[in-house]
């Protein structure tokens, strides 16, 4: 039975039905949006402008194939020398020469130069076929990259022969049962200069990089994937120290299991106001308020409680330095130093403007993979707002939430409102994806300033609807219970 296709959801199940055999790329995130990888024993076209990352992606496909999936590969370079290629990918930690020495990879450098070739009658490209066949046989290759075969058009003037031979080549690759990645440079009005998309009908990927707000954002889109559902969005990707990471919006869609477990906010009266026990595990919590309302203090209680439970926490500090934060929490009776010392609480401090949005997202991904925290705090999520169009920020936050939920990690975000704002800025954008939303306010009363807390939203929680006053004491946040409030 076919249900509504959500990108990245049903494809996973389909792949297991064996509709189309796939070859996993091993590239972070790419196998998730393709539902398992590239079409096995078929050519995939990867195209994009100069510097978009085609060669990197193609190389990683081979390196991961050789090292993770026991599938040796052949890299046929029509443009770069083997030495240049090895050097370029060394920055991603790939040692091509070592793979060549271990007979897991063949690097073949095809030199095409029209100036040294004269055409004197009929010919075909059988020499290229024999050459590829020999390279494939020499290591038992299961994968091949042709980067970029369009260079042939610069070497041979008879395009009719060339096109016929390309068609034959792609059929031959299928017969040889190798999974191929063909790269192509983006052309005017078509995906590649020579219209390679005409020959590669199974899977076409488009890479792109743009500069917005002086930040480079790389994106990947699957234009076509015959016989398979796939994500149709543009996915941001990064070329980092460990290779390419594609950031799928979500790898699990809405299918993550809901937890019944509750975890404490670190403030007993708040746990009570939330209906007892605190927040749900793996839920998303937003604490909004204007400057000086105590958002970070609430977050400090939350990570302290995680420490008490023996859980690891990651605190992404975008507004104040970790040292200041630890000191400030100590002054109000919430000790965090020991947690930092024994590694249970890790800070990741950065200036929001230092990197692109996508890089922040990836950095958080990587930290989560490395540190395996059970709770993540982002203080403050609104720091990202200055960095891009709000739709982009929202989409980044949504991806972060989905990613953490899929790992059963609880996300605690703070959001800064400007004074006097009636609608919370971040809240208005992302409230629909937030499970629990606490709003903190400063109110003037009888010439004194008082702080209030209201629970705007609490999915599945029998929470209080009363706006409660609280104060920040030498023993941390103290909520006045509704009854004690009424008596004053």
């Amino acid at each position: 039975m076919k249900t509504k296709n959500r990108p990245g959801v049903s494809s996973r199940h389909k792949a297991t039905l064996g509709a189309l055999p796939k070859a996993a790329t091993g590239i972070a995130g790419l196998d998730e949006i393709t539902g398992g990888g590239l079409p096995r024993h078929r050519p995939t076209l990867v195209c994009g402008g100069p510097g978009c990352g085609k060669t990197m992606l193609a190389t990683e496909f081979l390196v991961r194939g050789a090292t993770q999936f026991r599938e040796p590969g052949v890299f046929v370079s029509f443009e770069e020398t083997a030495t240049d290629l090895s050097q370029n990918v060394a920055s991603m930690g790939f040692d091509l020469n070592a793979l060549v020495a271990r007979k897991l990879l063949v690097l073949d450098e095809v030199r095409v130069s029209r100036s040294e070739i004269h055409e004197t009658g009929e010919y075909d490209l059988e020499g290229l076929f024999l050459r590829l066949g020999h390279a494939i046989d020499s290591v038992g290759a299961k994968r091949i990259v042709l980067d970029t075969i369009e260079a042939l058009f610069g070497g041979f003037s008879n395009t009719a022969v060339l096109r016929a031979e390309l068609r034959r080549l792609f059929d031959w690759l299928k017969e040889r049962k190798v999974t191929a990645v063909i790269t192509g440079e983006r052309g005017d009005g078509q995906l590649t200069r020579q219209g390679l998309e005409e020959y590669v009908s199974d899977c076409v990927m488009l890479l792109d990089h743009r500069v917005a707000n002086q930040l480079t954002i790389r994106r990947l889109r699957i234009v076509k994937y015959r016989g398979s559902t796939h994500g149709t969005d543009e996915y941001p990707f990064l070329i980092g120290e460990t290779g390419i990471s594609v950031l799928p919006i979500t790898s699990l869609g809405m299918s993550h299991g809901a937890s019944n477990e509750k975890i404490s906010s670190g403030i007993p009266q708040l746990d009570a106001a939330l209906g007892g026990g605190g927040f749900f595990r793996a839920s998303t919590i937003l604490v909004s308020g204007s400057a000086g309302t105590g958002k970070s203090t609430f977050a400090g209680h939350f990570v302290a409680a995680a420490g008490d439970r023996g859980e690891h926490a990651l605190y992404v500090a975008l507004e104040q330095s970790p040292d200041e934060f630890v000191r400030n929490m100590r002054l109000i009776g919430v000790p965090l130093r020991q947690l930092v010392k024994n590694g249970a609480l890790r800070f990741h401090a950065l200036r929001p403007t230092a990197h692109g949005l996508e890089l922040h997202l990836t950095t958080i991904h990587q930290l989560v993979e490395k540190l395996r925290p059970r709770v993540v705090v982002v203080d403050a999520i609104t720091s990202f707002l200055g960095m891009g169009i709000s739709a982009e920020v929202t989409s980044m936050v949504v991806r972060l939430i989905d990613f953490l939920k899929s790992r059963q990690i609880t996300l605690y975000m703070t959001s800064l409102n400007e004074d006097g704002q009636t609608v919370d800025r971040a809240g208005a954008n992302i409230s629909s994806v937030v499970d629990t939303w606490l709003s903190l306010r400063n109110v003037e009363r009888n010439g004194a300033r008082a702080r209030t807390l209201s629970i705007v939203k609490g999915r599945g929680l029998a929470h209080s609807s009363v706006t409660q006053e609280f104060s920040i004491t030498s023993k941390g946040v103290a909520l006045k219970t509704p009854s004690s409030q009424a008596s004053t």
Binding site: D108, V110, R111, V112, E116, I117, H118, E119, T120, G121, E122, Y123, D124, L125, E126, G127, L128, L130, R131, G133, H134, A135, L152, G155, F156
Partner: protein, 106 residues
Amino acid sequence: MKKASGKSRERSKPIEKYDLCLYVAGNTQRSATALANLKRICAEHLDGQYRIKVVDLVKNPGLARSDQILAIPTLVRRLPSPIRKIIGDLSDTERVLVGLDFRHRA
């Protein structure tokens, strides 16, 4: 070697001024045509001062890589230097002569 050439002359063996290598792939009609054309052109224009070697890449596929061969047939003039490559079945005699730079000699 040059001194030895005197001996060659005594045995009336020509100096191999042109070292030519024809790359083919199996016994195809096109390969046969190319070889026939090559022999004819050399006989007509090179006055016996040449040597032709035929390499079948089906038998020696590794040579396609080391000699940078893509198209079949490919004729490589190894000597005199610089190396020159021409592709096709050599049916266009004029282009063969230009491509191999035989003309200046004639």
